[in-house]
Point group: D2
Chain length 270, copies 4
């Protein structure tokens, strides 16, 4: 095999639909006015559209250059304006693409960090906490659907119930990382902050950047009163998320075991 | 919200099925005797089984400890033996799990590196090339299926046809990275080497660790005779893969553009 | 060996000075009013002080808890205020540490992203470009010095002069990544933007997020007129940097070769 | 500034010595016969030599192509043979470089994984543990020196003594990662295994891939009997390393705090 593919002239023979063509890992700055307050993000973008089977080969290929040029231009023009949410910014980018490159499916994805002030458990100080978030808007004209995907990644901890039962209350404790992802209608109102709250309240204890000694003691006590496997954390997150949010839900929890060099994982979806 | 989930005693109320419970990022050493030759790998493992809804809370939770213990034991015992392929090693691990932890679904995933000797284009020397590979075995008793997933990641390059047409044969060239993934029956015979060949022959040119000046010239000439967008690379890979391999195919190509700070992407599946 | 170190009681025997004790990977938000314009950053902090040899063991150890608590508190209080530069923010954090934890050496490091608008070469549009930057302030009382370290990482490209000479003007081109680091007096005025300019102008061509076809052609033409090895890029950066900036200079350039799977590197310092 | 550097013809004006020119991130396979037993590694190489100030510009630049070609050839030829240690393999590569490219300084660096069987604390089973290691050989003719750098990274844990004192024996525990680096004469005999032992015995407890319930209990008990800050771990490692190994020693310990989202760090050197 191989020879017949070696020159560009023969490429037109290849008729394959591409589901996702575009740009990725584009980092820039964006301003979101959310509920009357202005937030600055340093997001990383991925933007794709589908491209049908080639009919005339090289001619269609040229289109790609134009697609990716239009995409980077759409990002730069839209991030110079203020939008009301990350998904509204993404939809505005899709609207621009529609004019120049007709397509059946378009996706815009943003990865960024969310900083939220949380009250510490004992001293009641405000501690700034950081969360990785990802927001995608998916337009699928075949299904007549405009959907969004919201994803938060939260750092917490687990205290092992099995070791605790076997060691008179002593146990191994570790940092754990949980991700909650919801795919739902674009118009469904779900705040990333609420998703963070669901995940953060499902660990043995939440974690904090700023802890006075009284707070540290409160966190330690809470972890021992609340021993959990990663699977308990995963179950609690999906249980709460189903009650609170409408859509398809995916949960993944990884525990950086303190007694092993490897990690433990629990994953489920609905 | 929140209070009702705060203590372990209330957890039994949460009845949620978990699709994937196990261990991840476990690195070890494995020996594979493939077609009569012994290869050593330093793989990273992920192993999961499904766990049904809890019936009695804490009792079922204890199971997790036993599951993850059984998994790490199964890995260590099986990697001390020589298997005939990565997927045979994975199936042997699943067989061990079946005895201790009945389940409907089990997955074993290995990520590792494959080193293959390739002939350079002009000097005909052998150059050792490195590829990231991933192999998974998925047993799903509900569907009565034993499947495997084979994935190779190959580094090549793209020379832009659009810039070439606009600049009297001059163009921008860059490193590109393509992934080919096939999900198929466990018994389907597909060599990772053949998958690598399909991907590597679809770039503007393959790349080599060792290039004498005559080889470098041959690679440069080939790139200019063979300009391709990432979308052309993606189309060629899926076209060839469909002819050669049986199963569900996923292709993803990312080009580290030399004229941008961001990347260009093309993705498709069948 | 080993037994004598196994219990906490024996630890006081260990008298070792620690050069750097503190916190790392703390991500938060910061506002900098630089030359009258407000910028928002999502920085990651590392903060350390030195700790002398233990005299009374466990008693001294307790200090660590207090040190790290003071550090996170200092970060959170200072990032709630607006500073005139990243290094002024860092110095303010050191000033807070001085009051609670006397030390001879203190360091505060920030890693973040800088977004700068650049004019494209032909269409003269403004393209938002992203750069990784790192700024550190080092206070060393032993030497009576207050210094800072400024570091920028810039993405550009290289077009190989050797292949060009051997292939009638055809050559291999690739993305390259260069880092310029300057260690200098705290009071030395050096703008990160100027460091970026020195690096970005030393590649075969700068890269842009937004390129119209006329710009793309200009970039392609420039790369062919300006072939460079990574070592040429490294030499040009250090040559310009020595003329323009006062301090110890370190340059590192890595080229993601399009004809190899590995990278090429050139590094020098002064 | 800027214009005078824009064309290749002007580059010869730049006379700057380069301390490190070569290749990096080259992954291949290597076999080491260490004390009579054959080990397979999948190492990543970095190889550099110094290049003096250019005298004739473009002519000297061409040398780079030859340098990097010689380097990749030297790696491929040497890894096809069996050496007695990673540093002997590196020295063999330097010997090849000497013949073709006279230089004052040469460095060869290898990053790879070491798998060591360790006995678990209670069941006395053998558990395969994985460690990141790095070995470099530095030849400096100016100083008339042939040195090597040995580095091991080990995963363990810390149990906080401060929280333990404040919470009736309860405390927070977490995974911690420590690096020990030694720069010494090439002929100094230091086994990576011994370095791993020094680091691994300095945590609150070592960690294991394979733990039966009795082992897990032993690890949990040991952590509580042995509470340590990262600074205690750092002090213990450097104290032991100074007694056992000859050379310049660098220690870095990072604790993935279970009560914070950020990490705690202790670093020292001698």
């Amino acid at each position: 095999m191989g020879e017949i593919f070696e020159t560009q002239e023969e490429v037109p023979e290849i008729k394959e639909k591409l589901h996702r063509v575009g740009i990725t890992n584009l980092r820039t700055v964006a301003k979101i006015n959310w509920k009357g307050k202005l937030y600055t993000f340093i997001p990383t973008f991925e933007i794709t559209i589908d491209v049908p089977e080639e009919k005339k080969g090289i001619h269609m290929s040229r289109l790609v250059e134009s697609i990716t040029e239009t995409m980077s231009e759409a990002v730069e023009e839209e991030v110079s304006r203020v939008h009301s949410s990350l998904e509204e910014l993404e939809l505005a980018i899709i609207k621009r693409l529609e004019k120049k490159h007709p397509h059946k499916r378009a996706e815009v994805w943003i990865k960024t960090h969310l900083i939220i002030g949380k009250e510490t458990p004992a001293s009641k100080k405000i501690s700034l906490e950081s969360y990785d978030v990802e927001v995608g808007v998916i337009k699928d004209e075949t299904k007549g659907k405009l959907e969004k995907v919201l994803k938060v990644t939260v750092i917490g901890n687990t205290a092992c119930p099995h070791a605790m039962a076997n060691n008179q209350g002593k146990t191994h404790i570790q940092r754990a990382i949980a991700t909650l992802e919801i795919q739902t209608d674009f118009d469904e109102e779900i705040a990333l902050e609420d998703m963070v709250e669901v995940v953060e309240s499902s660990f043995s204890s939440p974690t904090y950047t700023l802890l006075k000694t009284v707070d540290e003691n409160a966190v330690v006590q809470k972890m021992y009163q609340n021993p959990k496997f990663v699977e308990d954390v995963a179950r609690e997150i999906i249980f709460k998320a189903k009650q609170r949010f409408k859509g398809r839900i995916h949960v993944r929890v990884v525990s950086l075991e303190s007694i092993h060099k490897h990690d433990v994982i629990a994953e489920t979806w609905y």
